[in-house]
């Protein structure tokens, strides 16, 4: 009754909004809605809390609280803890950090590696920023970057030559991954156009190539590179192992890029092709001005995913004996002073890959969102 009287004090439609019930807002409302909305959810919440409670504090304890950051051997590490293996021995990673980054690159020449890393960062920054003045020049620089990097790293033309077998660690991982990424894009694009071509012979060649590469594991292609490829070359000529591997990694990635781009080309409404034809544009003009800009835009998320895959696949070179970050790390594990520190090593390398790949994935996601708003078919 009391409520009724209070209501009557207002003429219809003039009652000021009441605050929402306490139980549906704020922390309490959030907890009710997201954690304890049904009996099943209560059980799941309790199970999750138990899981987190039994994993996170011990893990943090091992990784941070009990960890030792500076020591010369694992025995020293363990002496600094309550009991051996109570904490992580990050001293192992710290002590080998330079080796992990530069491989066996000669000490006095390491500024070249640093400069390459710096240029790489600048390239990425310039190529990825949307509204950067002089975008065209940034892209031109990005195209030239692999060649500049090759010159800086391998020397020649005024710089002391450094053999490719000196490359190792993160440097080698990046060289393999970035080369694969940089050169697979144009080749993949050409393959995709070839597969969509009206000319049967051209199409057949592209289809066979793409399906062959996609049908076999990368590791077999790397075996081909390391054992068999020399037979294909003119007698007497030798070919650097790194180069052979780079060729295979690039071909492998380009087959996947080709399929992604083909998806983009097929995803384009056929009206776009017809419009280009009716304007009287030639094949190349139509593709350059109308088809490819749109098709590539649709396929950017897929392309970035392929890049992530190619980055992750670069660790496979360890199987044919190249010392990338994983190979070098595993070699260090056999060092008697650091025997048995596999968890530290794998955590460190996992973090390196996670940060790189997750960053790329987030970028692709944000790009996808940005592009979606521009298109409403």
């Amino acid at each position: 009754m009391a409520q009724n009287q209070a209501k009557q004090a207002y003429s219809p439609g003039t009652h000021p909004d009441l605050p929402p019930p306490v139980r549906t807002t704020g922390v309490l409302g959030w907890v009710r809605k997201n954690l304890i909305s049904s009996p099943l959810n209560i059980v799941l919440t309790l199970a999750s809390i138990w899981l987190l409670w039994s994993i996170v504090p011990p893990a943090l304890n091992w990784v941070l609280a009990e960890a030792v950051w500076s020591a010369d051997t694992r025995k020293e590490c363990w002496a600094l803890m309550g009991a051996p293996r109570d904490g992580a021995c990050w001293a192992f990673i710290r002590g080998s950090f330079k080796l992990f980054v530069y491989g066996w690159y000669p000490e006095p020449e390491r500024w070249r590696v640093n400069l390459t890393f710096l240029l790489f960062a600048i390239t990425i920054f310039g190529a990825l920023r949307e509204n950067i003045p002089g975008k065209k020049y940034w892209l031109m620089f990005a195209t030239a970057f692999p060649f500049i990097a090759a010159w800086l790293l391998l020397g020649g033309f005024g710089l002391t030559p450094v053999g490719t077998q000196k490359l190792g660690g993160i440097l080698l991982t990046l060289v393999v991954a970035v080369t694969g990424i940089a050169f697979s894009l144009p080749i993949g694009l050409a393959l995709a156009l070839g597969r969509r071509s009206k000319l049967p012979a051209l199409r057949a060649v592209c289809v066979i190539f793409i399906e062959f590469i996609r049908g076999v594991p990368l590791i077999t292609l790397l075996f081909v590179a390391s054992t068999m490829l020399t037979y294909f070359l003119p007698p007497g000529s030798t070919f650097d192992l790194l180069m052979r591997v780079l060729i295979m990694v690039t071909l492998f990635a380009s087959a996947y890029i080709a399929e992604v781009v083909r998806g983009g080309l097929q995803g384009l409404p056929s009206g776009q092709y017809e419009a280009a034809d009716s304007l009287g544009l030639t094949y190349w003009k139509a593709h350059r001005l109308i088809i490819l800009p749109q098709a590539l835009k649709i396929s950017i998320p897929g392309i970035v995913n392929t890049f992530i895959g190619s980055f992750k696949d670069s660790v496979l070179v360890l199987i044919i004996g190249m010392m990338d970050i994983l190979g070098l790390g595993r070699a260090r594990l056999n060092d008697p002073e650091w025997l048995g520190l596999a968890p530290e090593l794998y955590i460190f390398i996992s973090l390196f890959f996670f940060i790189s790949c997750f960053g790329m994935a987030r970028y692709s996601l944000s790009l996808e969102k940005k592009l979606q708003t521009g298109h409403k078919y």
């Binding site: 997201n34 954690l35 909305s37 959810n41 799941l44 919440t45 999750s48 809390i49 899981l51 987190l52 009206k198 000319l199 049967p200 012979a201 051209l202 060649v205 062959f212 996609r214 049908g215 076999v216 594991p217 990368l218 590791i219 077999t220 075996f223 081909v224 054992t227 068999m228 020399t230 037979y231 294909f232 070359l233 003119p234 007698p235 992530i308 992750k312 696949d313 660790v315 496979l316 360890l318 199987i319 994983l326 595993r330 048995g340 596999a342 968890p343 794998y346 390398i349 996992s350 890959f353 996670f354 790949c357 997750f358 994935a361």
Partner: protein, 397 residues
């Protein structure tokens, strides 16, 4: 018009300007370049092989492979067997880990995908963190890390963990489980299982036809289950339980008897499964989200109960979205199983493409076979995928 007249005078240029003839010219050029390329490579191969005194032949497959394979659960293999036999052992091991990997990956993937859709914030976030972490780290690192965990964390065979009544043991030598021993009469049970399957298929068809014609619904699930369990069960008892279990027993430093899942197999299987499961989870999530809520509401409006809605409306439509990318994940898992070589699990890449290659020096021949095997597996899976796509394709009117 004026500017075309000088060029039309040149017949070659005229040919080039004509779209049809230009197409022919480009194709002929492509084929010529390709053939020349292949010819040069073939010539190089012949000369190079002659230089190192090798001969291109597959005879080596019949040579004895003088190496051991620690894990050959299906066929007999000793180091006196041929390279061909080693290759078959490797192929079977590849198929074994791929098969069980696909099954475990599917189960884990569906669980993770549904967890990712959960309205429970904690479950949702835990699965998100797990998915993102696993997906963004190379599978090789997962395999190596799991392998080193299995080998270092598990106790030695002497102190093996007894999980399950003195019949299941977990140690760093592997996971030991009882192995079935078939006695005479087991074949009858096998036949009974086959008969039950055939009857169930027939019954389901008949029930569907009756439902289509009259609308009468039979309890297909329960009848099928009763047939599948009952018929073999009765035969099993009638023939005097022709099956016993051989239980692994610790003798000396290792277990004797029973079946062993080697640590290499365990590590590879687990790592491949949860890595692939994380990709499957995204596929499942996308598939379920792809079925619009209107479909569920329409089903409810027609009076279907919740489980019937799920079974008849949501799942069939979600599967149409899920199955094609799921198949390509199976393909990826199979191809990734070639990383077995890193931890010494003897799959085809490790036997034929690894040790046999090194021993015989037949790089070309072994790699051709290995690649051919993977290509056949890939083509089989993708042709199944195409067949399935055709079958479930939305028939638009």
């Amino acid at each position: 018009m004026a500017q075309t007249s000088p060029s039309t005078a040149n017949p070659l240029l005229r040919l080039w300007r004509n779209e049809d003839s230009r197409g022919v010219i480009i194709q002929i050029l492509t084929m010529v370049v390709l053939c020349a390329f292949i010819a040069v490579i073939a010539r190089n191969v012949v000369i190079n092989l002659a230089n190192v005194g090798k001969e291109f032949s597959f005879d080596f497959l019949m040579w004895p492979a003088a190496y051991d394979i620690g894990f050959s659960p299906f066929i007999e293999y000793t180091n006196k067997s041929t390279h061909l036999r080693a290759a078959v052992v490797g192929l079977l091991n590849t198929l074994l880990v791929a098969f069980w990997g696909c099954i475990l990956a599917t189960i884990l993937g569906f669980i993770l995908g549904i967890m990712r859709l959960s309205s429970n914030w904690l479950i949702n976030k835990i699965s998100y963190v797990f998915l993102e972490f696993v997906r963004n780290v190379p599978v090789l690192i997962h395999i190596l890390a799991i392998y080193s965990l299995v080998v270092t964390l598990l106790p030695s065979a002497k102190e093996a963990l007894d999980i399950g009544g003195g019949a299941f043991f977990l140690s760093n030598r592997g996971f030991y489980v009882p192995s079935p021993v078939f006695e005479p009469g087991a074949g009858t049970v096998g036949i009974a299982i086959l008969v039950a399957i055939v009857i169930v298929i027939g019954f389901r068809r008949w029930a569907k036809r009756v439902q289509d014609q009259t609308g009468r619904i039979y309890p297909v699930l329960w009848v099928s289950l009763a047939l599948l369990i009952g018929l073999p069960g009765i035969t099993f008892l009638a023939t005097g339980t022709p099956l016993s279990w051989e239980i692994p027993v610790l003798k000396g430093f290792n277990f004797k008897g029973g079946m062993a899942l080697k640590p290499e197999f365990l590590a590879l299987w687990l790592a491949l499964s949860y890595y692939t499961a994380c990709f499957i989870a995204e596929i499942v999530r996308a598939g379920i989200l792809a079925v619009s809520h209107g479909q569920t509401e329409a089903a409810h409006a027609l009076g279907l109960r919740n489980n019937r809605t799920l079974q008849l409306i949501v799942i069939p439509q979600a599967l149409r979205v899920i199955v094609p990318p799921l198949c390509s994940q199976y393909l990826n898992l199979t191809k990734n199983s070639s990383l077995a070589i890193a931890i010494g699990y003897m799959d085809i890449t490790a036997t034929l493409g690894g040790i046999s290659l090194m021993q015989t020096g037949k790089e070309m021949e072994t790699m051709i076979i290995v690649m051919g095997v993977y290509l056949v597996i890939s083509l089989t899976i993708s042709s199944f995928m195409n067949w399935f796509n055709q079958r479930i394709k939305l028939t638009e009117r």
